[in-house]
């Protein structure tokens, strides 16, 4: 029995456990321990992250002469580590007071934990796919498990979940089509055999693969123009599920894209496929899709006034950096894209956990109804601060490293417009995340929040641990870059040369150990100047404030938050035309019309019309 068998077994046990004890007080902790056990098994498989041989799973079966089986390589291991890690910390977060409250509110903790564990199990199965059929099985499992977790709370969550499943089924059909095409061409579903045949694929076939597999996986990842479903569906999920989805779920689409378009087809092949009548190649097209995915969802996030939706829209946008880096195809760019999967997952985990901590205490995520919470929830503030620095890609946090690698590779490969596009996305992110932290934690504390407390240790500790991880993996990015390098070697990309501190390049590299130490040194000197050289300061009440000549009271709502960037939106609002929403609605109406017609046909609701039409057609045939 290999370690992988054991991992899948423990994961299956994790699905079964909450059915028995999910609603008890210890249920959450048992789940946490089981996820920790899965994490331990993954650590036992750590050789994969350092160039070890793939580990096969024992179970497998034959269908129509096709072997269906599973195996883990560096790529699977890297994604599995992030998946199980996300599950571990979110389950921990939900184990104590959060879970008790959820149960008190009349929801089923048993169902929630089962759905979470099912998601993890489905993802672990998907990540182990060794042939296209097991990939498809895994894909369907993930889609339905996600649907279950999204809809688990009922109420407002159902509508976005149903919208998701429509998208997911459409994507699955596309993948099915691609699967059939590959089978006809190669005569096998085995990934290793397809890889051997892939260099001989014609451009036409690769275009069809991009349209089938690419579109299918793009739906899950929320790439433009399939980005509409994701944010509302993930935001309405209960806290641990929401944080888990936000951190990793959509990346399964990226996994699929890496598997098919990078590992089997290869970025070089894509770059060699010109689009007729343009100067672009298939790779450029995908890179620009990625760039649009950075910009459009990010500037949609800027308009949100629900903290969860804001973060989820950023989640869609951050996926663009990952794909963009991969499509650059160089060692630096693809390493940046892959590293961003890890870094982003850690950032989004703590951001969502902090936001749900605020919801836990105040009952709202509405950015117009919060403010000043830094005085009451300092730990959550610190966690959110670390998260936004990471998400915005500012040193010293880890998000900066992966984004820097993507920027640097775009400059090195001579793609200036994509570089500018990605920077425009980053600037939008900075604006948006400052609005997030300002409207929740800074500004005026509202009277109704004057007495709330920090969340208990069961919630703040997992946040703090991941926040420490965000800082440390920014300080020593080499640890995760080792795994990224193994992934690159496994999928046939050029391998990044790196050190513990970052990427040494002859013409402008990065060493985060020095940079972060320098920033800490700067802070130390700054603190020395400020606290030692300056006089002692006295704390005043928040209403003891310059307000242009009149006194402030708690009743004076001067919190400036509603539309945080009015000057910018006066300029930008004509640009937001909701074209994609309009397009989606149009497609929906078209499908409605066709199905009405079809229903009319088989129910024969208009017999007179059919007789008349038949008569006219017969007449026309007789006359001519």
């Amino acid at each position: 029995m290999s370690t992988l068998d054991l991992l899948l077994l423990v994961s299956a046990i994790t699905v079964a456990t909450p059915l028995l004890i999910g609603n008890t007080r210890l249920g959450g902790w048992a789940m946490t321990l089981l996820y920790a056990a899965q994490g331990g098994l993954l650590i036992g498989m750590r050789d994969l992250g350092y160039g070890g041989q793939p580990i096969p799973a024992s179970p497998g079966f034959m269908v129509f002469g096709q072997q269906i089986h599973w195996a883990y390589d560096a790529l699977s291991w890297f994604f599995a580590l992030i998946t199980v890690g996300s599950a571990l910390f979110t389950a921990w977060y939900a184990s104590g007071e959060w879970g008790a409250r959820y149960r008190r509110d009349g929801y089923s903790l048993r169902l929630l934990h089962t759905a979470m564990a099912l998601n993890v199990f489905a993802m672990l199965v998907l990540l182990g796919s060794a042939d296209l059929l097991s990939l498809f099985i895994g894909w369907e499992l993930v889609s339905w498990a996600s649907f279950l977790l999204m809809a688990v709370r009922g109420g407002p969550a159902v509508q976005p979940a149903l919208r998701y499943i429509v998208y997911a089924m459409g994507g699955a059909m596309a993948i099915m089509m691609g699967l059939a095409m590959v089978y006809i061409q190669v005569g096998s579903m085995e990934l290793s055999q397809i890889a051997a045949a892939a260099p001989g694929f014609s451009d036409g076939l690769v275009w069809l693969l991009i349209l089938s597999f690419g579109v299918g996986f793009a739906v899950k990842m929320g790439l433009v123009p399939f980005h509409l479903w994701q944010a509302p569906a993930y935001a309405e999920t209960p806290a641990p599920g929401s944080a888990f989805f936000g951190a990793i779920s959509a990346r399964m689409g990226l996994f699929g894209i890496i598997l098919i378009l990078v590992k089997l087809v290869g970025v070089a092949h894509l770059a060699g496929m010109p689009i007729p009548f343009t100067f672009l190649s298939a790779r450029d097209l995908l890179a620009w899709v990625a760039a649009l995915t950075i910009i459009i969802p990010t500037y949609t996030a800027l308009r949100q006034h629900d903290a969860r939706l804001l973060l989820m829209w950023h989640g869609v946008g951050q996926g663009g950096y990952m794909l963009l880096g991969l499509m650059v195809g160089s060692a630096l760019g693809s390493a940046g894209g892959l590293l961003h999967v890890f870094n982003y997952a850690t950032n989004q985990l703590i951001l969502l956990m902090a936001v749900f901590a605020v919801i836990h205490r105040t009952g709202t995520a509405d950015l117009n109804k919060l403010g000043g919470l830094v005085a009451r929830m300092p730990l959550s503030f610190l966690v959110l601060l670390i998260g936004i620095i990471g998400l915005a890609g500012i040193p010293p946090m880890n998000g900066f490293v992966s984004k820097w690698m993507v920027y640097r590779s775009l400059i090195a490969e001579g793609m200036p417009l994509l570089f500018v596009a990605s920077v425009v996305g980053t600037l939008g992110t900075i604006l948006s995340v400052y609005k997030l932290i300002h409207n929740m934690f800074l500004g005026q504390l509202r009277a109704e929040h004057a007495q709330i407390r920090e969340v208990p240790l069961s919630m703040s500790l997992p946040m703090l641990v991941v926040a420490a991880l965000v800082f440390l993996s920014g300080y020593f990015p080499g640890v995760a870059l080792d795994w990224v390098a193994a992934v690159q070697a496994g999928v046939g990309l050029p391998v990044i040369a790196h050190t513990l501190g970052g990427v040494p390049l002859p013409n402008g590299g990065l060493d985060m150990i020095w940079v972060v130490s320098l920033i800490l040194y700067g802070f130390a000197v700054g603190a020395l100047i400020f606290f030692v050289l300056g006089g002692r300061s006295t704390r005043v009440h928040q209403l003891d404030n310059y307000a242009g000549g009149h006194f402030l009271t708690a009743q004076t709502r001067y919190q400036y938050s509603n539309i945080f960037y009015p000057g910018l939106f006066r300029l930008l609002s004509p640009v937001y035309r909701n074209s994609f929403v309009w397009l989606e609605a149009g497609l929906g109406s078209a499908v409605n019309l066709v199905s009405m017609g079809a229903r009319g046909l088989y129910r024969s609701v208009h017999p007179a019309f059919y007789i008349l039409a038949g008569f006219v057609l017969t007449l026309a045939w007789v006359i001519t």
Partner: protein, 299 residues
């Protein structure tokens, strides 16, 4: 790197930046005064101001992050100065390139934003909202400029960009080889300094000096120090990208003062843009000029 060199660089580079920054502030105020037919402040006035502010008896804090915000503001600039090579001192510029520098320079802005945010003053919040909006306006052309320069010299490392320019003399300067990018660069530098017509986020008559509204004593002093750093950083960055950096301290300082002289001398005659107008200007003029310059560099 030898630890002695490192220690000297870590101490001296921020210190020099601060002292030069004091003189840049003095120049700014003198130029301003002369255009308005005043004499202007005495030689040591910028230093007196800082000493006075730090020594104030009453210091008002609105909370822990009000304090830490100012620490981040000063500290971020101190870190940035060590990434900015000057004649005789490279600091840690080999450990982080110009992109790192640009992003490290966001740390002080973030610090200020956090500090002001905790003050719970609407004018302060409006000021930060406007400051971030204007960052969106000037960072887009600035990044166009950076990518052009980096591609032209084939490196993002500042010491190398400087060395490559100095190897060819004045004809090798970015200003001579990439005049359009240099023009876009000076406009973005002006916008970055937040001087009229782009000082939407200070706007004393409108939002009571925005971010500074709740700042007094050492808090305002910290902001004053950071203004010195800001002028110096902007001047040195532009000098490094387009004017061949410094061959020696004399020519280096002359270039830095010349660069800063341009925005501070034309700023006085302008009124103030509206917030949206500033963004529209930034995306229209310097970005377009920069993109044309970029096209010339690439093809």
């Amino acid at each position: 790197m030898h630890w002695k060199t490192l220690l000297i660089d870590l101490t001296l580079m921020p210190l020099v930046a601060f002292v030069v920054g004091l003189f840049l502030v003095l120049m700014m105020r003198k130029v301003n005064a002369r255009i308005q037919r005043r004499i202007g402040p005495p030689f040591f006035q910028p230093l007196y101001d800082i000493v006075k502010l730090f020594g104030k008896e009453i210091q008002i804090s609105h909370g822990l992050w009000h304090d830490l915000g100012i620490v981040m503001l000063i500290g971020g600039y101190i870190a940035a100065e060590v990434l900015l090579p000057v004649p005789g001192m490279v600091g840690l510029a080999h450990k982080g390139d110009v992109l790192v520098l640009i992003y490290v320079l966001m740390v002080p802005s973030l610090g200020m934003a956090l500090g002001v945010g905790q003050c719970a003053n609407p004018n302060g919040s409006i000021g930060i909202s406007r400051a971030l909006t204007s960052m969106l306006a000037y960072d887009v052309p600035l990044m166009v400029v950076i990518v052009g320069v980096a591609w032209h010299y084939g490196t993002t490392s500042l010491p190398e960009i400087i060395a490559l320019q100095q190897a060819e003399g004045v004809s090798g300067w970015g200003l001579s080889t990439m005049p359009l990018l240099a023009l876009a660069g000076i406009i973005s530098t002006h916008m970055m300094l937040g001087k009229e017509p782009f000082e939407t986020y200070v706007a004393p008559a409108e939002i009571a000096t925005g971010p500074m509204v709740e700042m007094g004593g050492k808090y305002l002093g910290g902001m004053f120090v950071s203004q010195c750093f800001q002028l110096y950083t902007a001047g040195v960055l532009y000098t490094s990208l387009f004017l061949g950096g410094g061959e020696n301290w004399l020519s280096f300082l002359a270039k830095v003062f010349a660069v800063i002289f341009i925005p501070v001398s034309i700023t006085v005659v302008f009124p103030r843009f509206k917030v949206g107008e500033g963004v529209a200007f930034g995306w229209k003029w310097p970005t377009t000029i920069g993109l044309i310059g970029l096209a010339l560099v690439f093809y």
